[in-house]
Amino acid sequence: MQNFKSRLIISAIILSQFFLIFFGRLFYLQILKGEEFEKFSAENSIRLLKVPAPRGKILDRNGKEIVVNRPSFNLVVFPREIKDVEAISHKLSEILGKPQFELEITLKKLIKQNFYTPTPIAKDITRDELAIVEINRDVLKGVDIEVNYVRSYPHGNSGSLILGYLGLASEDEIKEDPSIEADQQTGKFGIERNLEKNLVGEKGQKYIVVDALGRKVETPFFKDRLHDKDSSPGNDVQLTIDIDLQDTAESLLEDKSGAIVAMDINTGEILALASRPSFDLRDFSSSITREKWLEITNDEDFPFLNRATQGTYPPGSVFKIVTAYAALNEKAIDYNTKFYCPGHYKIGKRKFHCWKRAGHGWVDFKRSLVKSCDVYYYQVAEKLGIDKLSKYIKVFGFGSKTGFDLFEKEGVAPSREWKLRNFKKPWYKGETAITSIGQGYLNVTPIQVNVMTAAVANNGIILKPTLIKGPVEESDDSDKIRQVVLERSIVKKINDALWAVVNERGGTGGRAKSKLLDISGKTGTAQVVALGSEKGSDKFKDHAWFTSFAPSEYPEIAVTVLVENGGKGGSVAAPIAKEIIEKYHQIKNPSDDI
């Protein structure tokens, strides 16, 4: 029995010890630290602020800034702290110029549905608005200013179709990656979208305690206990673009519809890639209005279409480079083969015209390119046949994607099987003739033509164009080369002819002749198929092409220009290419005078 009593007393003493501990704990909470804890009282509030992380910058190949961030100020509501909805919405309506009742409805909705979540009610407010908010802190209890970052574009609209823009994260994106928040901006287009994971920074968080007037209360005791987290900025992306060259390209297309591609012929790095019409990046920098969005998406000129990679066009005479190579390589002709051009040629019962109705007379291989004689190629095509020709169409990369970093189209590389598959009809001989001069079913993108041109300039290597210099995934150089296909001696002969197109008297590309350096190139004037009555309207004017490389002897850059419905390639596209190449030369040799 004694044992039992002692056990009972031990139990009671142990239990009562807990209450002694509570005395101690309460002394600490109420007497020692009472004042500190009071700072979190009903009058004061803890706020969890997000510390925004700036997105990575987008730089050009020389490290010049193309897309950067600027601070923007958002008005944020802390619904939990709102007491007087009417007074606050009255003041806000004065500041923001919105109707008071609208603000009242918004605030009431926030208090009901988002009680604990700080929510922005006005984004990117002006400095003036900011100042008025600061003055009226006493009325605007529960409203605060949040600093955020928005995109800013030192080079204006240059490269808008490559760079892309930001928009509010979609539901699908949030579902896929729960770390994305509902009011977060994500890349919606171009580089901003494709390199989102790289560009996006990691948000931080910070707790602050504010008093009834929204003033920060210092809480040294809690500084270490509240877990603040710094934000970390996103990584920069470096493009292969030379922004100065890009600016030039954009301004040359200013009032036109078309595309320019400039590429380093040794590495496949895109130096400039312009497409017009395009959209204004600044419309997207904070948040786009609904009206603006509708205006852009309903624009009949398709400003979102990157004509350099997604626009497909008949190549016209620039395609004669492919036919010429095919014929020489298949030995259908040699360098000395001559054909007579009376201005037309008959295949079967049909008569096919040369662009020069008067005819070119006797034409050899070199003159066929210099004068761009169609009749010469009708006869080459007849000897070559469609099966061999279509093989070379594919060899030069037409009908398939170039492997470029942004969205692109494949175009159409016609062949006997292709026609049977798509039209259930056999191939006609006349179709070989029009294919040989870049018309008919052929459909190509400017970047494909540029890759073809680079291959002619670099002795036969079909490159994979790239736009991103860094960060680069580990890969060896062979990745950039899709295939090595062309016969050097033949390429050399074509090169001689392309030099003559620009530099010999009477060449179709004479307007690309430069005093600074030798340029080689090929013109193209692609017919747009039009039905009788529509003929003559601007919409059905020919597309002007010019594809070129320079310097002719030791080429470095390939430039392709397309002007939609521009007319003759020699007179419209060639001068543009010349200016791009001269700009390139100037950038490389700043001391040279024109």
């Binding site: 039992f4 139990s11 704990r25 309460l26 909470l29 804890f37 009071e38 979190f40 809690f222």
Partner: protein, 370 residues
């Protein structure tokens, strides 16, 4: 001869009864103070919970008077019937349709307008069973099978059924009760240490396999990690105590009660007492609980026989454990657990069963050595 009531002996422990009634009166004030705004907003009547609590308290006082005059020896006769009654309730509550599921746990039985938690009653039934059995097996208490295993098996059945509701808190309370009762019942220490070891392993397992339990532990260890989320109640509780300071803000002066809704009048009533009556007031409350504990232990030590001794000890352990856990949570020394503060918190079944238990203790006090 079987006697149910003993109305003659009125020599009960007056100090104990006074302490209990003082706490219950404070409870009425605090339930009104903490629930009036919530009542007004949700029921259009600021006295909604006050009225209900007063009714429960009236029933509880009747229960106290009833059990105070009951002859405790009669309770011993009810040991096995009540054990099986409790077992049936614990099984019924697990059957969908009979048991009501609230927030993922099936703990309630609805009986016309009346909802109650079987585990609330079963805790007290467990005390009666252990008091009876420890007395009966006193001679062979040191044997493993008779003194230790048989009790663990019978009590374990209850604990297991409550654990799978799931109600981790109540099963922990019950396990601690069994441990302490076997301890004073002279069960060999080494068996109890084994039981303690197994329980700790089991508890760790239970925490690790359920994410929400782990979250509670983490936010308990560091409420500042997420002061607006999982650590919210703990932080707000600290603020309430801090606001109270030494003297408190006065009855009804709490501004923190708004932050605990809807638990200000149940789980966090202790924090609001701290805010409204300050450190001095809270000390008085703790002192009252200590008086209840010590007077009851005194009764237990002077009890006329083993059964009544164990019975008083078991009841007071239950009540003290609940008070301790509730306070421990409020001052941030224990992880959040939905356990009310005996005598004070709003809640019918806990108030009535606590008062019934106090009635039995007071009844036994009549026979104690003076």
């Amino acid at each position: 001869m079987l006697r149910i009531f003993d109305l003659k002996n009125k020599n009960f422990d007056f100090l104990l009864l006074s302490a209990v009634l003082t706490l219950a009166s404070l409870g009425i004030l605090m339930v009104y103070s903490t629930s009036s705004i919530f009542s007004l907003e949700n029921y259009g009547d600021s006295t909604h919970f006050l009225k209900l609590h007063s009714i429960y308290l009236a029933v509880a006082v009747l229960a106290l008077i009833f059990f105070m005059h009951l002859d405790y020896k009669f309770l011993r006769k009810l040991t096995y019937p009540s054990y099986f009654f409790g077992l049936v309730l614990l099984i019924l509550v697990l059957i969908p349709g009979i048991g009501k599921e609230v927030g993922g746990a099936q703990r309630w039985i609805t009986f016309s307008h009346f909802t109650f938690q079987p585990s609330e009653i079963c805790k007290y039934i467990m005390v009666i069973y252990l008091a009876h059995s420890l007395t009966k097996k006193r001679e062979r208490i040191e044997s493993f099978w008779v003194g230790f295993f048989s009790h663990i098996f019978v009590a374990g059945l209850y604990i297991f059924l409550i654990f799978i509701e799931p109600d981790f808190g109540t099963s922990t309370v019950l396990l601690t009760l069994v441990f302490l009762m076997l301890f004073i019942g002279n069960v060999r220490l080494r068996y109890l240490l084994i039981l303690g070891g197994i329980s700790v392993v089991f508890a760790i397992g239970a925490v690790l396999t359920r994410g929400y339990r782990m979250d509670r532990i983490v936010s308990f260890l560091d409420p500042w990690k997420d002061p607006l989320g999982s650590g919210y109640q703990a932080v707000q509780s600290f603020v309430a105590f801090g606001m109270g300071g030494l003297y408190g803000s006065g009855l009804g002066g709490s501004s923190q009660k708004l932050f605990f809704l809807p638990q200000a009048h149940t789980d966090f009533i202790f924090s609001i007492i701290g805010e409204e009556f300050g450190f001095i007031g809270i000390c008085v409350v703790i002192m009252l609980f200590l008086i209840v504990l010590f007077r009851s232990i005194r009764i237990s030590l002077r009890a006329p026989d083993s059964f009544s001794c164990y019975l008083v000890f078991g009841f007071i352990i239950l009540i003290t454990l609940q008070a301790g856990i509730n306070m421990g949570v409020a001052v941030g020394l224990l992880p959040t657990k939905g356990i009310t503060l005996p005598f004070i918190s709003y809640g019918g079944s806990s108030l009535v069963s606590t008062f019934a238990a106090m009635g039995i203790i007071l009844g036994i006090s009549r026979y104690a050595d003076k």
